[in-house]
C-alpha cells in the first residue's frame, strides 16, 4: 500500500464530492437545517396534538338521561389530586368541565362509529343517594386502538377513581379509621433516567440511519457514478493497485458519513439544548430529561466503526452497479437489511447481551442507546460491539476491493454478476484473494458466535454436550466449509490450507513452542490481571466446568479440546486466511491480521491478549514453514497442557511450580527457560521454506 497515493485519491475525491451541490445538500444542509426543523416541527406537532387530545372535550355515550344525571352528579364531586408533597396539583381540570354527553341507543355502535369517545352504562346502583353506602357498577365501552376512545375511557376512569378514593376516605372517617392505617404500602418513585426516553429511543436509530444515508451518495458517486461518467476506465489504466483506489474512495465515503453523523448529532444536541426541545419532550413525557452532553463524544467514537461498516458495504454493493440508477436500486434492499436489525435492537427491553452483542447494526444501535441513557456497560460489551463491527467492516472492505474494477462488473452485460459467481467462469489460481478469505472469516464470526450461544443455551449447564457438539461443528465451519469454498473458487487446497509436509526444523520449532507457549500465555494473563482482572463471577461460572472436566476421560478431553481445535483452527486461520495474505508479501501485516482474527474468535475480552500472542507465534511458524502441521503440534500441546492441568493440577509441580501459589506469575526460572526456548524456536525457523520443496 502506497499511503501517499491513497492520500492523493482521498483528497481528490473529497474535493470533488464537496464541490458537488448534491453532497453539500445531503451532508451539510439537510442535517444542519432540515433535520432540526423537522424534529422541532414533528415534536411540536406531536406535543400540540397530545396536549390537544389530553384537554379536549370528551364525549361520553349514555343510554338515558338518568344515567347522564347520575354521572354528572358524581363528577361534580371530583376532588383536586395532590402531588407527593400533599399539595393540590396545579393546572388540574376536573372532568366535568370538559365532558359532554350523548344519549344513544346502542353504545357499542356509537363507540365504533366514533359518535362518542366511550360509552358508559350504569349496570347497578346499590344504596342510591346514600354517599356512605352508595355503590355503582359501570360498564365502559372502549376501543383501545383509537387514541380518543382510550383517552376518554382513561379520563373517565381516573376521575371516578379519584372520586372513589375521596369517598373511601369519607367512609373511613365516618368509622373513625385513619386512611394511612389501612394502606399497607406507600410508594415514592425516584426516576434515574438521565436521558429522554423519547430521545433515547429515536436518536440511536436516527444516527444509524443518518450515517447510512450520508454514505449513500458518495458511495454511488465514487463507483457507479464514476463508471457512468467514463472516468473509471481512465482511473483503472493508471498504475495504482485496486486496493489503493478502493482505500482512497473508502476513506472518502467514511469521512462524508462521519461528517453527516457528526453534523446531525451536533444539530440534534443544539436543537435539544437551544431549541427548547427538552421542555417540549418533558411536557409530553415526564421521563424525557436531558441528553447527556458527555456521552456525545463517546457516541461519535462508537459511530466510527459503524460508518466504516456501512461505507464498506455500500462501496461493495455500488461496485456492482453500472449506473447511478442501478446503484440506487441495489441500495434500497441494503438499507432495509441494515435497518431491520436496528429496529429489532430498538424494541423495548432489548439488551446489549448474548447474540445482540454481535448482531450487525443492532449492536451499534443498542450501544448508542445505552451510552446516551448513561447505562453502565461492561468493557467486554463495548469491546465486542466495536470488534465485531470492525470485523464486519473488514469483510465488507475486502469484498469492495475484490469487486472494484472487476471486468465482469465493468464491461459485461447482464450476465456479469452471474459470471462473477459462476464456477465455470472462475479462473483457477493458487491462493484465494485476501478479500475472499476475510469475507469468509467475517461471516463466520457472528455465525460461530450464534452457534456457541445456541449450544450453551440448549444444553444449559451440560458442559460435556456443549463440548461434544462444538467438536463436531468446528470441523464443519473451520475446515469443511472453507475447503468447499476454495474448491468452488478453484483455489489449490493443499497450498492454501498449508497441508504440505514441513521439514524437520519446523517440527522442532513447533515442539519448542508447544512446550512453552502455555508459560507465555500464563504470563500474559498475569500481566493482564493488573489492568483487566478476570471478574470473580466469571471464575465462579467456570468452576463447575472445571469440576466436570475432571470427571471426563483424558483421551476424550484431549480429542475435543486439543486435537480438533488444533487441526481445524490451524486450517482456517493459519491455512486459508494467512495464505490469502501471502500474495501481498507483507509478512508482519499478515501475521498481525491472522492473530487478531484468531483472537477475536475466542469471544472473551480476557482471552484476547493471550490468544493474540499465541496466534502470532503460530502464524509465524506457518508463514515460515508453509505448513500448518508444526503449528498443529504446538497448538495441540498448548491446549493439551491446559486439559492435563485441569485434570491433574499437581502436574506442574514437576516443573517446580507450586499450583497453590497466590501469585499469578510463573516462577522466574520457568519464564526464562520458556523465553529461551521460544527464541530458539523462532531462530530455528528463521529461514522461510521455499514455495516448492526440492
Amino acid at each position: 500500500m502506497n499511503l501517499t497515493r491513497i492520500k492523493t485519491i482521498y483528497f481528490k475525491e473529497l474535493v470533488d464530492l464537496l464541490r458537488d451541490r448534491r453532497t453539500v445538500i445531503a451532508t451539510i444542509i439537510v442535517p444542519v437545517v432540515l433535520y432540526p426543523m423537522l424534529m422541532l416541527f414533528s415534536v411540536q406537532a406531536a406535543s400540540v396534538q397530545t396536549g390537544k387530545v389530553a384537554v379536549e372535550q370528551i364525549t361520553l355515550g349514555v343510554t338515558s338521561r338518568d344515567d347522564q344525571n347520575t354521572i354528572l352528579k358524581l363528577l361534580a364531586n371530583e376532588p383536586t389530586p395532590k402531588d407527593d408533597d400533599g399539595k393540590p396539583t396545579k393546572d388540574f381540570t376536573p372532568l366535568i368541565s370538559s365532558v359532554q354527553f350523548r344519549i344513544v341507543n346502542d353504545l357499542k355502535e356509537a363507540v365504533q362509529t366514533h359518535q362518542v369517545g366511550c360509552g358508559v352504562e350504569i349496570l347497578k346502583v346499590a344504596n342510591p343517594n346514600d354517599p356512605l353506602h352508595e355503590q355503582f357498577t359501570f360498564e365502559i365501552f372502549v376501543q383501545p386502538d383509537q387514541i380518543r376512545s382510550r383517552l376518554a375511557a382513561n379520563r373517565f376512569e381516573n376521575a371516578l377513581t379519584r372520586i372513589g378514593q375521596s369517598r373511601i376516605n369519607q367512609r373511613l372517617e365516618s368509622l373513625e379509621v385513619k386512611r394511612d392505617v389501612i394502606d399497607p404500602f406507600f410508594f415514592k418513585q425516584t426516576n434515574l433516567t438521565t436521558s429522554g426516553s423519547l430521545l433515547g429511543l429515536i436518536l440511536p436509530l436516527l444516527l444509524v440511519l443518518i450515517t447510512l444515508t450520508s454514505a449513500i451518495y458518495p458511495a454511488i458517486d465514487l463507483t457507479a457514478g464514476e463508471r457512468e461518467r467514463g472516468t473509471l476506465e481512465t482511473l483503472l489504466v493508471c498504475p495504482v493497485p485496486a486496493g489503493e483506489l478502493v482505500a482512497g474512495k473508502f476513506l472518502t465515503v467514511v469521512t462524508i458519513a462521519l461528517m453527516g453523523a457528526m453534523l446531525n448529532l451536533g444539530s440534534v444536541a443544539a436543537t435539544v439544548y437551544f431549541g427548547g426541545l427538552t421542555d417540549m419532550l418533558g411536557a409530553m413525557d415526564q421521563n424525557a430529561g436531558d441528553l447527556p452532553l458527555s456521552a456525545i463524544p463517546i457516541v461519535l467514537i462508537a459511530l466510527v466503526p459503524f460508518a466504516v461498516l456501512t461505507s464498506a458495504i455500500l462501496l461493495a454493493v455500488c461496485g456492482f452497479a453500472r449506473s447511478f440508477k442501478e446503484a440506487q436500486n441495489y441500495i434500497t434492499p441494503v438499507i432495509l437489511a441494515t435497518l431491520m436489525p436496528g429496529m429489532i435492537a430498538n424494541l423495548p427491553g432489548t439488551q446489549l447481551q448474548g447474540p445482540m452483542l454481535v448482531l450487525p447494526v443492532g449492536n451499534m444501535v443498542l450501544l448508542v442507546r445505552d451510552l446516551l441513557s448513561g447505562t453502565q456497560l461492561a468493557g467486554f460489551q463495548i469491546m465486542m460491539v466495536l470488534l465485531s463491527t470492525s470485523l464486519y467492516a473488514g469483510g465488507a472492505v475486502a469484498l469492495a476491493t475484490q469487486m472494484f474494477g472487476r471486468e465482469a462488473v465493468m464491461f459485461s452485460d447482464n450476465a456479469s454478476i452471474k459470471s462473477l459467481l459462476s464456477r465455470r467462469m472462475i479462473r483457477a489460481g493458487k491462493y484465494p484473494s485476501a478479500g475472499l478469505a476475510c469475507l469468509y472469516v467475517a461471516i463466520l464470526f457472528p455465525v460461530w458466535f450464534y452457534v456457541q450461544n445456541l449450544l450453551q443455551r440448549h444444553f444449559a449447564h451440560d458442559f460435556v454436550n456443549v463440548l461434544r457438539y462444538t467438536a463436531v461443528l468446528m470441523p464443519v465451519f473451520f475446515a469443511i466449509l472453507p475447503a468447499l469454498m476454495l474448491w468452488y473458487f478453484k483455489r489449490e487446497l493443499k497450498p492454501t490450507l498449508a497441508l504440505e509436509k514441513a521439514p524437520p526444523r519446523y517440527w522442532l520449532s513447533g515442539l519448542l513452542l508447544g512446550l512453552t507457549m502455555w508459560v507465555i500465555g500464563a504470563e500474559v494473563i498475569a500481566f493482564q490481571e493488573y489492568v483487566l482482572p478476570i471478574p470473580e463471577a466469571l471464575i465462579k461460572q467456570q468452576a463447575p466446568m472445571e469440576a466436570l472436566m475432571k470427571e471426563q476421560p483424558l483421551w476424550w478431553l484431549l480429542l475435543v479440546m486439543a486435537v480438533v481445535p488444533a487441526v481445524v483452527e490451524e486450517m482456517c486461520f493459519r491455512g486459508m486466511l494467512l495464505s490469502s495474505l501471502r500474495t501481498n508479501g507483507k509478512r508482519w501485516l499478515a501475521l498481525l491480521v491472522t492473530a487478531a482474527a484468531f483472537s477475536m474468535f475466542h469471544f472473551l475480552v480476557y482471552r484476547l491478549a493471550i490468544t493474540f500472542v499465541l496466534g502470532l507465534f503460530l502464524a509465524y511458524l506457518c508463514w515460515q514453514s508453509r505448513s500448518i502441521w508444526p503449528g498443529v503440534l504446538a497448538h495441540f500441546m498448548n491446549n493439551g497442557f491446559a486439559v492435563i492441568r485441569a485434570q491433574y493440577p499437581d502436574f506442574i509441580k514437576l516443573l517446580g511450580i507450586d499450583p497453590s501459589s497466590e501469585s499469578n506469575h510463573m516462577p522466574i526460572h520457568v519464564v526464562v527457560i520458556a523465553i529461551v526456548m521460544i527464541a530458539a524456536a523462532i531462530w530455528i525457523s528463521r529461514k522461510p521454506r521455499p514455495e516448492t520443496l526440492a
Partner: protein, 249 residues
C-alpha cells in the same frame, strides 16, 4: 513495443454458453509506428485494446507492452501506457490543471513534478485559457485536448487510442490527428482503432483488419491494396470479409 500473442477472450452469455469475442489475435507494433486496428462494430477491437491495457483478462494468450507482460506485471504496463478513448470522461468538478496534476501524482510524481508536467502539457496543447476552468464547463474539443494531455502525463512510450476522433469537429479532429503523428515521430508505439477509414489510410503504418474476433488481413495500406486489388480501405475490407483470411507480411 506492443505485442499481442494469440490473444483470446470468451465471455459468458445469458443462455449459459460462451461467446468468443477475440480469437487468437497476434500482432506487433514497433516503436515509431502507428498500427491501425480496424473492423466493424462488435469485431473485438475494444476488447483487444482492453486486454492490452490490463482492464480485461485474456482467456488465453498474452500481451506485452514495452517488455512487461500485462498479466504478470500489470502495474508496470500501466506505467508505460497511455490510454485514450472517445468515451473517456474527465472529472467534471476538477479543473484541467487539477486533472493533470491528479493523474501525474497517480503515476508516482511528487506534487511539484506533477504541477510542472501539467504546466508543460497545458502549454503544448494550448490550454492556458481554460486550464483553470472546471472540465464540466469545457467544449467537446477542449475536453478532448485535456484528455490527450491526461494520456500523456507520464510521457508513455506506448499509446492505445480507441476511436479518439469520434464526435469531434474538424478543428478538434485536426488537433487529434496532429497529436497522433507527433507521437509517432517521437518514437512511440501507437495502436489506433477507428471507424474513419480515411484517417487510417493516411495515418497508419500498418493496418490489421479484424472480423468476428479474428485478424483477417494485416499489412501496410499499399500492401493491402496490392493484395486485394482494391484502392480504398473500405472496399478492401468489404472484399476481405467475404473471403478466406489472407496474411500479407
Amino acid at each position: 513495443m506492443i505485442l499481442a500473442d494469440n490473444l483470446t477472450k470468451s465471455f459468458p452469455t445469458p443462455d449459459g454458453s460462451e461467446k468468443q469475442a477475440v480469437a487468437g489475435l497476434s500482432f506487433a507494433v514497433e516503436p515509431g509506428q502507428i498500427y491501425g486496428l480496424l473492423g466493424p462494430n462488435g469485431a473485438g477491437k475494444t476488447t483487444t485494446l482492453r486486454m492490452l491495457c490490463g482492464l480485461v483478462t485474456p482467456t488465453s494468450g498474452r500481451a506485452v507492452i514495452a517488455d512487461h507482460d500485462v498479466q504478470t506485471d500489470a502495474l508496470a504496463v500501466k506505467r508505460v501506457l497511455g490510454f485514450l478513448t472517445a468515451n473517456t470522461g474527465l472529472y467534471q468538478r476538477l479543473s484541467v490543471r487539477d486533472v493533470l496534476v491528479y493523474f501525474g501524482k497517480l503515476h508516482g510524481m511528487t506534487a511539484s513534478q506533477a504541477r510542472d508536467r501539467a504546466a508543460i502539457l497545458i502549454d503544448i496543447f494550448d490550454m492556458a485559457d481554460f486550464a483553470s476552468l472546471r472540465c464540466g464547463s469545457l467544449s467537446t474539443g477542449q475536453k478532448q485536448r485535456c484528455n490527450i494531455a491526461r494520456a500523456l502525463v507520464a510521457d508513455p512510450p506506448a499509446l492505445i487510442l480507441d476511436e479518439p476522433t469520434l464526435g469531434l469537429d474538424v478543428l478538434s479532429n485536426r488537433v487529434m490527428l496532429n497529436f497522433v503523428r507527433d507521437q509517432r515521430d517521437a518514437g512511440k508505439s501507437i495502436i489506433l482503432s477507428t471507424h474513419y477509414l480515411d484517417e487510417a489510410e493516411t495515418l497508419c503504418d500498418r493496418i490489421g483488419l479484424i472480423h468476428q474476433g479474428r485478424l483477417i488481413a494485416e499489412g501496410s495500406f499499399p500492401e493491402l491494396q496490392q493484395q486485394s486489388g482494391e484502392q480504398r480501405l473500405s472496399d478492401i475490407f468489404l472484399k476481405l470479409i467475404h473471403e478466406e483470411p489472407v496474411h500479407i507480411v
